[in-house]
Symmetry: C2
Subunit: 96 residues, 2 copies
């Protein structure tokens, strides 16, 4: 499934800034960064559960905010972009 993960992590403390880096690193392990706090992720059920577990173990549930949207097929290709935003190649083209 195709997911969009967006987050706000409270960075008013050194601990918060550490969490922010950790959240970004976790998301980098699962998908492509398209903005400062936005990742496009292709995942199956197992890797989504793994990511959710990792994120839950990382964030401060009283201050941080993570949203995970399930997108329709090809939404990554159909995203409308303005400015320097670009579509990302999540799947290599097949050469037969």
């Amino acid at each position: 499934m195709d997911l969009l993960v967006t987050y706000d992590v409270d960075t008013t403390s050194a601990e918060g800034r550490r969490r922010l880096r950790r959240v970004a690193k976790l998301c980098e392990g699962h998908g492509l960064r398209v903005q400062q706090s936005v990742f496009e992720i292709v995942a199956d059920d197992k890797s989504l559960l793994e990511l959710l577990d990792q994120l839950n173990a990382t964030i401060d549930a009283d201050t941080d905010n993570i949203r995970i949207y399930r997108l329709p097929a090809r939404a990554f290709d159909d995203v409308q972009t303005l400015g320097i935003a670009q579509t990302q190649p999540h799947r290599q083209d097949l050469v037969l």
Copy 2:
């Protein structure tokens, strides 16, 4: 249609910070803020075109980055949230 608008605006200059505030204000006119740089927007074709025109006229296309994802029906209700993130009531329940 249901849209998710995410943005990164270069805030290294006072002019950039002005653009950031303007982008947020434009999005506020069309939907609900769910994170610092993420808005959930319900729009018809006309208001989407209007928003795109306004955003294009506001951003610096060489530094800023806006992405607009079209979401499936009810995606705003089905969003998976961690921490303090909450689902947002875009449409009032009908009382018959």
